[in-house]
Structures are given as C-alpha cells and as structure tokens.
C-alpha cells in the first residue's frame, strides 16, 4: 500500500510539474523561444503571491486574482519591449537574453526578499485530507492536480476553438504568412508570453503553498518543466501533463526506495525516455 500511495502522490505532484511545463511548452511551440528565466518567473510569482497575501491579509489562493493578471501584464511587456528585439530565425539570442534575465531576477529577489526560505500558509487546507481505504489524499495536492487539468484543458480549448488560438497556431506554422493575414507578429508573440506567465502565476502560487521556496529555487523548477515537456513530446499539452505525471511518479517511487533518490530517479527516467524516444512520447508534428 505504501507503493500505491507513493505512486498516487507522484501523480498528484505531476500536476504541479505540468503547470511548470505548460507555459514553457506554449511559448516554445508558438515562437521557438527557450525561456531560461521560466523557473525564476515561477519563483517571482510565488514571492508576489506572498506579498499580496500578507499585505492584503487574504488566503494564498485568493491572491491569484491579483498575481495572474500582474504576471500576464509583465509577460506582455517583457516580450513586447525586450524579447521581440531578439527574435529571428536564430534561437540563440533570445535564449541568451533569458539566461541573463534569470540571473537578474534571482539577484533582485535575493536583494528584495533575502535568501530565507518562505512558504505560504493555506490554513486548514495545509493538512486537510480525504481518506480512501488505507490511502490518505491531501486536499491541496488534489486541488493542484485538478487545476493543472483545468489549465491544460483551457489552453487546449483556447488553441483549437478561438480566433486567438488560431492566430497562435498560424504564427507558429509560418510567422511571415500569418502577418499577411493581418496578424501583428509582435502583438501575437506578446500575447503568447502573457498567457505563458498567467500559467506561471498559477504554478508559482501552488509552488509557494506546497513547499518552501527561496530566490534560488527557480532553475530546478525549470529543469522539471523541461523534463515534463520533453517526456510528453513538444507541442502536445496533454502529453506535457502526462510527462509531468511520469516525472512525479518516478520521483515518488525513488523517494520510497531511498529519500536521497527522489530527484535522481526523476532525472534517470527522463534520460532513459530521451534515449529511447528522443521526440517524446506524444510528439505533435515534426518540425
């Protein structure tokens, strides 16, 4: 039963990893931009949540109402004013700029919030659980998983059933021709980054309620995000959720064998899958 339990916890944790990954996958899919600062932006969202929660004296989950639009706005401006200048057929310049951004974000957060680990307290939700037979399922992880599914279903709907989703896909296919359809590439890219950081905001708040975080926690979140995206297959959002779950379960089983194996097990499973399925389990299309 311990094994079933650790697999179940791993599945639920996978939801959080899928949230880390969804925003990353989205902007890579639309504009071939590898955002190295993604993890630090997740941590920034968590700190923002902490500030909002403590200054307005509200529940951490209620802070989403402020943090999601704030991060989306930040994303739009970041893309419009900075990253759009680096976009070309070469994927290296934006990668380098976001790497620099990552260093800047970590240091600004260190200056502002100090290196002390922080955590957001969700009150009764922290310890609430549902008992099913011999299994105890935390309400917060369950909520996190449900939100991850809702976010991915929402993105999927947006991509395939709305005009903006159509614009995203067309721009991803062929940015030049998409412009001839009256789409301003810079605006479309900025909207994509805004959407990505809106998802980052949700991921950041859940990160901050689930575990402690500090200004240097970003890069590890980035790795988990990347791994989930690559396991699932580039450009496939449901695949990304599945990738997150595989990663979570691998870590859960690893931790059950030996606590020190938690992270290693996740990375090993990722490497094995990368070796046997380099395009991921469910690649969308060959580019």
């Amino acid at each position: 039963m311990v094994w079933v339990n650790s697999i179940l916890q791993g599945v639920l944790l996978g939801g959080l990893y899928a949230l880390f990954a969804a925003g990353l996958s989205l902007i890579f899919g639309i504009m071939r931009l590898v955002n190295i600062a993604h993890g630090d932006l997740i941590v920034l969202a968590a700190f923002l949540g902490l500030v909002v929660t403590s200054s307005l004296d509200i529940h951490p989950l209620a802070s989403l109402v402020v943090v999601v639009p704030a991060m989306a706005l930040l994303g739009y401006l970041l893309q419009y004013l900075l990253l759009n200048r680096t976009m070309s057929d070469d994927i290296l310049p934006p990668l380098l700029v976001t790497f620099g951004l990552s260093v800047i974000l970590q240091n600004v957060m260190l200056e502002t919030f100090s290196a002390d680990p922080q955590k957001m307290n969700t009150g009764a939700l922290d310890t609430a659980s549902i008992t099913v037979g011999a299994l105890h399922i935390g309400v917060l992880p369950l909520l996190m998983f449900a939100v991850a599914i809702a976010v991915i279903a929402g993105l999927q709907w947006l991509f395939y059933h709305t005009a903006i989703g159509r614009a995203f896909r067309a721009t991803s296919d062929n940015a030049d021709i998409a412009q001839l359809m009256g789409l301003n590439k810079k605006h479309v890219f900025s909207l994509a980054m805004a959407l990505s950081l809106a998802v980052v905001a949700i991921a950041g708040i859940f990160l901050g309620t689930k575990t402690s975080f500090d200004p240097s926690s970003g890069p590890a979140r980035l790795i988990f995000g990347f791994e989930a995206v690559i396991i699932g297959g580039l450009g496939n959002l449901w695949g990304t959720l599945f990738g997150g779950i595989i990663l979570g379960v691998a870590q859960g089983i690893g931790a059950q064998i030996h606590p020190g194996l938690q992270q290693l097990a996740g990375h090993l499973v990722f490497l094995i899958l990368l070796a046997i399925r380099p395009n991921g389990l469910f690649p969308r299309v060959a580019h």
Binding site: A163, R166, A167, R169, A170, S172, D173, N174, D176, I177, A178, Q179, L180, M181, G182, L183, N184, K185, V285
Partner: protein
C-alpha cells in the same frame, strides 16, 4: 491604385531589384513575367511589407505604404497568394479560410461564397490542409486571400507545380474572382497565359523592368526577347 516607384531591394550585399517602376490600376489585371531570380517574388514580398523598403517606394491610392508592417498593409486591402501556397499545416481547411478574414474587411467574400466558388473545399472543410491535393491547396490559398475582401490580390507563381487540368480550373475561376471589382498582379511562368489573362504586362530581368505595355500590342516574341535580357 498600386504604384511602385524606383523600388530597390537588397539581400545583404546582394542587390535584387534595381529601381523597379510598376503600376496596377483599378480593376486591372497586370502580369509580371521573368525568369527565376529576376526579382518577381522579391517585388511581391516588398509590396506586402515582408521585405523592408522606403516609404515612398510603394504607394497605395497615392499614400506611401512602403514603411508599414505586413499586417498593416494587409488591412489596407492588399492580399497575396504566396508561391507554393504556404497554407498553415496545423489549421483545417476552414480555419485557413477563416484566418484570411482576420483583417476585418467586410465585403462580398465570405465562407459561403468561397465554398460556392470552390465546392470541393466545402466538402473538405474539416480536413487538415496538408491532406489536400496541390490544386485544392491552391484553391484554399486563393480563398484565404479572398476572405480578406482585398482590393488587389498578388498571385505569386499561380500555376507552379500544378497539373495542367488543375491550372485550367484555376484560370476558369479567375475571371469570376476579378469581375467582383478586384485588381490583380499575377506572376506566371507560362507567357501565353500571362498575356491572355492580363490587360498589361511587365517583363522583369535581373532586377530591372525590360519591357512593359498592353497585352494587345506586346507579342510573345517581344516577351521572349525581354525574358532573356537581350
């Protein structure tokens, strides 16, 4: 209506266009003839804003538009059917058509009318655009341009890579399209067709206009001479 004045274009150090002048009037069909590398596609990409040029090099209804972004130019009523169709592979046939209407220009053309023009597209509306034949893809590309209700359409290599029977079908549909008050600038390799469909033509060779005039006076021999840059 559309005027190109002393247009020059460069790819890095390589000069592709050496001061091109051309004009397309209202309801006029103009063809642009030239060998590969003569600068036809470069001219079209510059007019639509995909390549940069000075503001005054391209005029639309007397206003300079050379400095505008491609999406701004598209909204003015200039549409292009690009070389090789270039449909969006992750969009269905109908989505490819709908995205053409993104410029928000109301007018004669809508989904129903495009499906009347090319009934086969209506039957395949939900298919991925990549599953269509080359000719059907060209119909989607034309429909996509029409959905913008443009005032001028630039057709780049309209029949390249298509079977002769399909080319005939496309050319049979063209008069219906143009009769609805459109102008057209057509790039076509088949000189006979290019002269037949157009009111006027320009020959382009090594980035310069070598011949221009009404298709009633220009003969195929004139064109062949200009074509080879004699």
């Amino acid at each position: 209506m559309l005027e190109v004045k002393a247009l020059t274009s460069f790819y890095g150090d390589f000069q592709a266009l050496f001061g091109i002048d051309l004009a397309v009037g209202e309801n006029e069909v103009v063809s642009l003839i030239g060998s590969n590398g003569a600068g036809k596609t470069t001219s079209m990409r510059t007019i639509t804003g995909l390549l940069h040029c000075d503001a005054n090099m391209v005029l639309w209804k007397g206003q300079p538009i050379g400095h505008l972004r491609p999406d701004q130019i598209a909204k003015q009523g200039i549409a292009m059917v690009p070389e090789g169709r270039q449909l969006f592979p992750s969009l269905s046939v109908e989505e490819n058509l709908r995205i053409g209407a993104q410029v928000n220009r109301p007018g004669f053309w809508n989904l129903v009318r495009v499906y009347e023009l090319f009934p086969v597209l209506g039957e395949r509306r939900n298919q991925a655009s990549t599953t269509l034949s080359g000719g059907q893809q060209q119909m989607v590309a034309i429909g996509r341009a029409l959905m913008a209700n443009p005032e001028i359409i630039l057709f780049d290599e309209i029949s390249l890579g298509l079977a002769p029977i399909i080319i005939n079908q496309i050319y049979e549909a063209l008069p219906n399209i143009i009769d609805n008050g459109l102008s057209a600038l057509i790039v076509e390799q088949d000189i006979a067709r290019a002269l037949k469909i157009a009111h006027r033509c320009y020959c382009l060779s090594e980035g310069k206009i070598t011949l221009s005039g009404g298709t009633d006076v220009i003969t195929q021999d004139d064109v062949s001479q200009a074509y080879f840059g004699v």
